[in-house]
Each structure stands twice: as C-alpha cells, then as structure tokens.
C-alpha cells in the first residue's frame, strides 16, 4: 500500500502496554485520514455511553494522507474523542509538523486508551514507545512544554502535541497545541488532562512511499505556484482577521454576546488595524506556501510583551463579542489562551455570557474574586482587563468564576440558573454545548441549518454553509426549499478537505475555481499519485459523505435525537435592533422546516436517523448493524 503504513498504534496509559493493529486497504479507501479516520477510530474504540472524562474515552489521532509528501497544505492531522462539551463526537484538526513526524514514524493513526495514575509524557520514537514522567512539565504553558521536551531529548526534530494548564485542570474548553497551532475546539485538552497525558511526542525518521513520485511533485508544484498568486493574497497579507470589518458591514459581527451585529469599535480590532499597528510577522503551518497566520505583538502599555496568533475567530470572540475595542487587550487574551491551552472561541463566548450576566445583575463584583483582584472586579462589556483576567481564571479554575466558566457556556448557565433561579440559558450561545462561531446566523439562514445540524455543535468550519449566504448566492434573509440540499452539499464539501486533510484556503489554487468541478478532479489526481488508487470525481465526493456519516453515526449511538439539532435561544427569539441584520430571527417553524428538508436531502428518516441501506451503500455495513434503521 502506498501513502499509508497500514498500521495503527494503540497505547494503554493504565497498563503502559502497546499493540499494533493492521488495517485493510478497503478501510483506508473508506475513511482516508484526518477527521474521518479519527472519528472512525473513535467509533471502534470508545466505551459507548462513557463519561467523556473517563478512561473509556479514547484519544484517536489520524494522520493526513498528504503529510510528509510535497502536496501543499497537506501537513495536517485529525483528532477525535467524545467531547466533554457536547457529549457527541469531538473532532479537531491541526496543521503541524507533528502530522509529518507521525507519518515518518510509520503510523497512520494512534489510539490512546485508559488513564495514567501520574502525569505522563509519551514518546513515539519510530516504532518504539517510551512512557516518561511529566511531573516536571505540569504547570508549564504549551510552548514551554514543547521546548522543554525538545531540550530533554536533545533533538529539535521531535514534534510534540501538548496541553497547557487549562487541560491539566480539566477545563472543558481546553485544547491541544503543537507548533503554535491548535487542535482547538470541542475540549480535547480536557480529555488529555483526564488521562494525565501532558504530551505526545513523535520522532519519525522514515520516508513516505508514494505510488508516483514524479507525478506528485509535478502536481504539487503547479498548486504551489498558484498558491503564491491572487487566490490567496488576502490570507497572505491580512489573514482571516480581515473578516472583522466584512462581518461588521453586513451586520453579522457578534457583539456583546450576540446582542448586536454591528460593533462601533470594529475598526480598532480589525485585521487592517492589526496589520498597521501590531503585526510582528506571518507564519505558516507545515507544508504550507500560503502563510496566513498573522502574529500580533504588543510593544507598550499594560500588555507589552503579549504575542499571539491572531485569527478572525479568536478576534471576534475576544474583542467585539466582549465589547472590547482595545487590540492590545485582545492580543493579550489570545496569547493567554494560546499559552494556557484553551480554545479562544469558547473562551470568548463564555466570557461574554458572564459579562452579560454581570451587566444584568446576575453576577456581582465579588463573584469575580481572584488572587489578582481579591475583592473581585467589575466585568462589564468593554472591560479589556476583565476579559484578560478571566482567561487566566478559566485555565486555572480559579475562584468561583474561573471554576464556573471552565465548564463552558452550556453548563455554566445551567448551574447558575439552578443556583439563582435565573434564565441565563437564554443568553448562552452554544449549539450542542459548543460555543457559536463568528457569524450571527439570524440572517444567515442556510448557515443556521448547517450549524444546527452539525455533528460538532457550534462550528463554522465543518458546515461551510455560510458560503452561499455570505456570498449572496442565495437570499440570506429568507428560507426556501433549496437549503436542505445546500446544507448537505456544503458540509460534505468541507468534509472532503477535513478528511484528506487539506487546508481549505487552497481551494481556488487547483484550477482557479473553488467548486467541486474545479477542485475534485485535481484532488483525485493527488490521491491517485500518492496511493496508486483510481479515484475519480465521484469517489472524491463520497469522501465527504462518508466522513460526515461516521460522525453522525457516532452521535446517534451516543443518544442523539432530532431535538439536539437546535439553535441558541437568542437567535430564535431576540431580533437585533440595529444594523443590516436587525429585525430577524430564525423561527421555530423555519428551523423545523429546514431540518425536514435537510434530513430528506441526506436520505435520512424524518427523525434524522440513517437507514441501513444508506449505510451499506456507503460501505459502512458494520455501522448499519449498530445504528441503521
């Protein structure tokens, strides 16, 4: 088999034993890699119904088909476990040299079982596995941990995925960090912390065998050339944070916990402002010729020294959504999340919920007591220092508020409502427990469906249904009969990229057109040159449907029902008062209609369950046996 080793490594942290599992080629053709393979490994290895923070929840890592090859933006891996936030599939992606090392070490995937009694750092050194004490690493930030491991091993080519204090303290919004990039969402870092796994390091010294090296180099070179052109210019110069002003102009920029869609301070937290006043450099993920990541640095004032990776999704959450127009405070808050190992989006949305609670009298100053402010502090919208301090408190579960917010928005609001008899769930911006992304969906009706039906919860990246709404390919303000098929089509499109995985920013660089017709034939050529298979347009298209289906199947087996495809209360009951999106909500009737036509488009039952014959047609016979209807 080319492109794969055919082997998955199983590591048991409780017994400190390992085993090697061989997988047949048909399995690889079905699940490929990235989030699809990671989710499939999770399907195979989880104790069904387990608590996400119990030993029965495995950490499943799947390499990228193109990691370690010349294919641009292919240096990514996928990770999955049952999410501590949602109780459903928690799948994450990261671009990283860790993905390349994993491939060079000869593993298509790694499954980590059980839990250790003591803090442990695992080293996978080609085909050897070493369990090392991690007591001395506990408390270190993410970059510090990676550096400490490289120094200990005396090898700067060792690549590590690590957690920071947030993961150690089982914050449900903790993530996993590698090379400064993150497997960022759904609380994977808490799963690592529950197993006392501080780090997984890989040293890989083998090559990656591909079927047709000359063809793969030629194809890759052409893509690389295109990736230096106008298709990716926006990413190279401004990065994703240029979306702040775009969304603001459209009335879609989450502001003050999604109470508004237009932020009066947007210019001061925009990508353009960052570029002019705070940009230190741009950096790239592994194998990436685009280099979109803008690094912001604060050089003076109370946050001097802060240096963070600034993406749009981090920025909306930790600026406008908290009402903060101080870019320095936003960079500090993002830096804290990066170093403490925490998802910026979930952190920002959870903090903004707390700020709304404070402004509306649910919380008082003394609820915010911490070592830095023993009497507590004011936490109104716009208070940058409150936002920064809360990121630290969440990571360390410090004080009442830090411990509360470390649970994420859904659990925090439920706890407060029970304790205080309030109805703060109405301000809790999450879907299935995962905090919502940087696009207000009240006037993005296709996207609203994609989010509600998404297996991951409040995630923009797995659905991509914002695309037709925002680009005006449909009327974003209304609902019609095309949206079910559109939501299906966009989520399966995104799933192809998330499975190979390839960064979606390359999507125009195959032929200049980002649609299926423009990209799938070229992706088929890359797959075939790597593996020797004979994939065509249809086979590439199936990758996405299978990837989404295995995740959906996982959720069904964990107890998903139709009511779990929901939207936040606010988006359904509170229209915005100002701006281009004012006056709209997604009504119950609209949402239920959208779900009906989406399930129909997917070929599922009215209850959103998957017929056996559908699963068998996708080559997922064993899944059909368990959850097919």
């Amino acid at each position: 088999m080319y492109g794969y080793s055919g082997k998955v490594l199983h590591i048991d942290l409780a017994t400190r034993k390992t085993r090697v599992e061989s997988k047949p080629e048909a399995w690889y053709k079905t699940y490929i890699g990235g989030v699809s393979m990671a989710s499939r490994l999770c399907w195979e290895n989880i104790e069904v119904g387990c608590d996400p923070l119990a030993p029965g929840n495995p950490i499943c890592i799947a390499g990228g088909l193109f990691a370690g090859t010349p294919v641009p933006v292919g240096g990514k891996y996928g990770m999955a476990s049952k999410s501590p936030l949602t109780g459903f599939i928690g799948d994450s992606l990261s671009g990283s040299w860790f993905a390349v090392s994993l491939k060079r070490a000869g593993w298509d995937g790694i499954v980590i079982h059980g839990a250790s009694d003591e803090w442990v750092s695992v080293l996978v050194d080609d085909d050897k596995v070493e369990f090392r004490s991690a007591d001395h690493l506990v408390g270190l930030g993410t970059a510090e941990t990676e550096e400490a491991i490289r120094e200990e091993l005396g090898d700067d080519q060792v690549r590590s995925a690590v957690i920071g204090p947030a993961g150690e303290n089982l914050s449900r919004i903790a993530n996993v960090s590698n090379d400064g990039r993150k497997a960022g969402r759904t609380g994977q870092g808490a799963v690592w912390g529950s197993k006392k796994l501080k780090a997984l390091s890989v040293r890989g010294t083998h090559g990656v065998k591909v079927a047709n090296p000359e063809e793969l180099v030629k194809l890759s070179y052409d893509i690389l050339q295109a990736a230096q052109g106008p298709h990716t210019q926006k990413y190279r110069i401004l990065g994703t944070s240029s979306n702040v002003l775009n969304m603001n102009k459209l009335g879609l920029l989450p502001t003050r916990n999604y109470q508004q869609g237009v932020f009066e301070g947007a210019e001061l937290v925009s990508g353009e402002y960052l570029h002019e006043h705070y940009k230190a450099k741009t950096i790239a993920c592994a194998q990436c010729p685009i280099a979109c990541e803008q690094v912001g640095q604060v050089k003076e004032g109370p946050y001097a020294g802060a240096m963070g990776h600034i993406e749009y999704e981090s920025l909306y959450a930790l600026s406008s959504n908290c009402g903060v127009s101080d870019m320095a405070a936003s960079i500090q808050a993002i830096t804290n999340c990066n170093e403490l190992g925490m998802d910026t989006m979930s952190a920002g949305v959870t903090i903004s919920w707390a700020m709304e609670c404070y402004e509306k009298g649910v919380f008082a100053k003394e609820d915010f007591k911490c070592a830095k402010y023993p009497e507590g502090f004011e936490a109104e919208f716009g208070n940058g220092e409150a936002m920064v301090t809360l990121t630290e408190m969440i990571a360390h579960r410090e004080g009442y508020m830090g411990n509360l917010l470390a649970e994420g928005t859904k659990r925090a609001s439920a706890q407060v409502d029970e304790e205080r008899g309030t109805e703060t769930y109405q301000w809790a911006m999450h879907i299935k427990g995962l905090e919502t992304p940087g696009y207000d969906a009240r006037t993005l009706k296709t996207f609203a469906l994609g989010l509600a039906a998404g297996t991951r919860g409040g995630c923009h990246n797995r659905t991509a249904a914002y695309d037709p709404d925002i680009k005006g390919q449909v009327d974003r303000f209304s609902v019609d009969e095309t949206r079910g098929e559109l939501a299906k089509s966009t989520e399966e499109y995104a799933s192809v990229y998330d499975t190979l995985p390839l960064c979606k920013f390359i999507r125009r660089c195959f032929t200049g057109k980002a649609d299926r017709a423009g990209a799938w034939p070229a992706i088929a050529q890359l797959i075939n040159a790597t593996t020797g298979w004979d994939f065509d347009y249809d086979a590439v298209d199936l990758i996405g449907e299978r990837a989404f289906t295995i995740k959906k199947a996982f959720n069904i087996r964990e107890g998903w029902t139709r009511k779990d495809d929901h939207l936040p209360y606010r988006w359904q009951h509170e229209p915005m008062k100002e701006g281009p999106s004012s006056g709209y909500v997604v009504t119950d009737e609209e949402l239920e209609y959208l779900k009906d036509i989406y399930y129909e488009a997917k070929g599922w039952t009215k209850d959103g369950l998957i017929p056996k014959e559908k699963l068998i047609a996708l080559g997922m016979d064993d899944v059909a046996e368990e959850i097919g209807v």
Binding site: H231, K249, H275, G472, R508, G512
Partner: protein, 94 residues
C-alpha cells in the same frame, strides 16, 4: 448621482483609502465602477481586479447597501443615488 465606495481588506491597503465618494451619471453600472476604480488606482489591477480591468478577482466582491452581494451576472445592474458600495474580499475556513 452620488455613490459612496468603501474599501476593505486588500483594496484598502492597495488604495490607501477607507472611503471614496463618486459623482456618476445615472445608469452607471457596477462594471463601470470597477473599470473606473481600476483606471484611478492601477495597483488594483492584478490584485483585486483581473487584467481585463472590469472583472473582480475572486474572492473580491462588491456589496450593495450591506444587503446584496453583486454576483458576476449582475454587474450590469447599477446603484442609485446615495447608495453605498463596499469592495470586500470574502472567505472563511482553513
């Protein structure tokens, strides 16, 4: 008629402008406006506007009054007096 043009993202960096007011003949189309912008700011050609001088380079797009994204087949429509046109580059994901 008077039309307000706003520049976001790469077009703002390229022109050095946040906003521009244009006095136009009634009947001016969006395509005409792109041509005018290319002529006035040649650095936009190749970066934001394609070499033909009248087609926007994806993912750049015109937005009309914060409501409508002007599609390729709508470039022969035009704005009205007092309208606001935003030149933005849309994308997300990663």
């Amino acid at each position: 008629m008077r039309v307000h043009i706003e520049f976001l993202g790469v077009s703002r960096l390229t022109t050095g402008l946040k906003e521009l007011k244009l006095d136009l003949e009634t009947g001016t189309t969006f395509r005409d406006i792109v041509r005018m912008l290319g002529a006035r700011y040649p650095a936009l050609i190749g970066n934001v506007i394609q070499p033909d001088g009248e087609t926007l380079q994806a993912p750049n797009i015109l937005n009309h009054n914060a409501r409508r994204m002007v599609q390729a087949n709508q470039m022969d429509d035009g704005p009205g007096d007092g309208d606001r046109i935003i030149l933005m580059s849309m994308s997300a994901g990663g």
